[in-house]
Symmetry: C2
Subunit: 342 residues, 2 copies
DNA sequence: CAACGTGATGACAACGTTGTCATAGAACAA
DNA sequence: TTGTTCTATGACAACGTTGTCATCACGTTG
């Protein structure tokens, strides 16, 4: 059977049932004004013929689309960011809407093509999802209000964006260690050019201030060099440097779980046990890493699923006035890589 | 501006340009029989008004859909399996088609709903993508030939499936080690209930036979207990057992990169250096792990991207008769976790 | 009895496209 | 000249729905 071809139509059902097309339509849509017997009879034919309404026809008639568009930039690098897609799907399911998805590979030309494509399908709204927290210039599209940025924000703030609260995440990381009595704390960060780095640093400072502790900048080293997408890891070198210090830190705040993973191995080489000799706290909560390390990694989770969900929810409420930047909190996930200092 | 609402139509362009709807249609579709001057003039209005053809109307008129459906079971666990989606998107891009995506969360009820949804949108074909290599019972749908299974195969072999060649992958793992002179080789496998485990084992045996070596079953231990989705890792215990053997293996074949990652840490604890004292080879090539371990992990890659691409390509060729199970090879990715024995 | 409300149903148009066929004028051959 | 072919264009129908309005058979009210 050829797909995309003709399927059972209202007309066919109507003929079988001996009623008008309109009556069948009424029943399909659950309209009130139909005789009970007629309804039962038609219903029978409906199921027997396995009728499924044609969305294209519906959309054309009503002008209302039941499809949303999701544009992603680059999927390859941060695997769990697909949770944004899952979150969006989850919310869409509740709305009985569906998702048209496309990937721009970060090419502006391709992106323009996709905006056209979404227009061609008359999607009801678009989510632009970036694979890491950053600014994005959406530019001028025909979609106006019906665009939400997920995990990124509009460069000109003319669209709403939903992003992780990296400042609060950094705060959680530091506070957790401070509460456990650590004062000599190291930091291995991500690339300076990434928004998250700056924000998390601010959160970490805030936690230190709040605890009446002072942060020693010498204890903060970058774990990467180069530029985004082409960065090179120098985590091992940085960690080694920190851990060979005369007054070596009792804990290290890691830019992400991957950094933590690398430090686990450095610590092992130096004969330092985690968490006895060194406490580590990660960021992202990539379960593939955080739950497989030994001991399991205490970390702060990126709320990707929530970001996706809320993006759709915001698209639903078109009433929302103005363009906001919404921060989704990053929860602490406590496992076994941090000890309490006596 | 409301989305999903009315956009510029052929009629509007036709009025502005002072020609008939049909003429504009001809130009949009690049039909030959149009006067050069007319074409130029209409083209101008087309771009000025930013006309984009309405897919719903096109589809209704022609009966041909430009959308494919992709149904996934559970995305959460194996993050890189989204490469299947990327691969599909990549192929679809070339065909100027788009992708409607939905997630069944593994619930049969939801799955049935999604088949209906795909029918409602009259998609031109459906890819059912599983997140790990397994059998799936598609059952009876209205889609007939236009279903391809990706990373899984139909329980009744009534649909074509594209799966990784796990047997060959296992063969590659073993052969690589054997070629490097290893003979005392351990194995830490995944759950027995997973197809991949059985297939890879067969491949490993084949490599041993080919090399005239004999595989000692005592050296093969399962790294997990329990059932799929709820498995519990006993990789550390298994690895420790192997490595404390009087005649400890010089190399271990790992069920996946995650297993390898856990063994790195066990080895460190036992004072064994990789690859000097122990060679390891993984499976999957999750870059997040394989490239961050130190030394970087030699492994066999799951060809998820290819699987996605080929699934779409197969859907394109409707001519393909019969239902096949296509095996996509798993290439060896050589890094630094295996040494040559002298 | 007439006028009226009510409940159930159907006829018809329209949404934006494209395939089919018709038409008008120009170019060409007899 | 007349008839024929060709080129460029347009009129119209149809795809499958649903909103609007009309219709018809009731039963109820004055």
């Amino acid at each position: 059977m050829r797909l995309g071809g003709r399927l059972v139509t209202l007309k066919q059902v109507a003929e079988k049932a001996g009623v008008s097309i309109k009556t069948v339509s009424r029943i399909v849509n659950g309209d009130a004004a139909v005789n009970v017997e007629t309804r039962a009879s038609v219903q029978k034919h409906l199921t027997r013929l396995n009728y499924v309404p044609n969305q294209a026809a519906r959309q054309m008639r009503s002008g209302a689309s039941s499809v949303y568009g999701l544009m992603t930039d680059v999927v390859a690098t941060t695997p769990y960011s697909v949770d944004i897609v899952r979150g969006a799907q989850s919310a869409l399911k509740d709305l009985h809407q569906t998702l048209l998805i496309a990937n721009s590979d970060g090419e502006p030309e391709r992106e323009a093509e996709l905006w056209r494509m979404f227009r061609a399908h008359r999607v009801a709204g678009v989510i632009y999802a970036a694979m890491f927290h950053r600014a994005h210039d959406v530019g001028k599209t025909a979609f106006g209000e019906s665009i939400i940025l997920a995990n990124c924000y509009d460069a000109h703030d003319s669209h709403s964006g939903i992003v992780p609260d990296d400042e609060q995440g950094g705060y959680e990381q530091a506070r957790h260690l401070l509460r456990h009595g650590h004062r000599n704390i190291g930091c291995i960060t991500l690339l300076e050019s990434i928004d998250a780095t700056r924000l998390r640093r601010a959160g970490i400072r805030r936690a230190f201030n709040e605890a009446g502790a002072s942060f020693n900048s010498d204890m903060e080293l970058s774990g990467y060099t180069g530029r985004v997408w082409q960065e090179e890891s120098i985590v091992r070198e940085a960690a080694t440097a920190l851990l060979k210090l005369a007054k070596r830190p009792t804990a290290i705040i890691c830019g992400n779980d991957n950094v933590a993973m690398q430090i686990y191995s450095v610590a092992a080489e130096l004969g330092l046990a985690i968490p006895q000799d060194l406490s580590l706290i990660g960021f992202d909560d990539l379960k593939l890493i955080s739950e497989s390390l030994y001991p399991k990694l205490t970390t702060v989770a990126l709320p990707y699923f929530d970001i996706g969900r809320r993006a759709v929810e915001m698209l639903g409420n078109t009433r929302t006035s103005g363009h906001q930047r919404i921060l989704v909190p990053c929860p602490l996930v406590e496992r076994h890589s941090c000890r309490t200092l006596v």
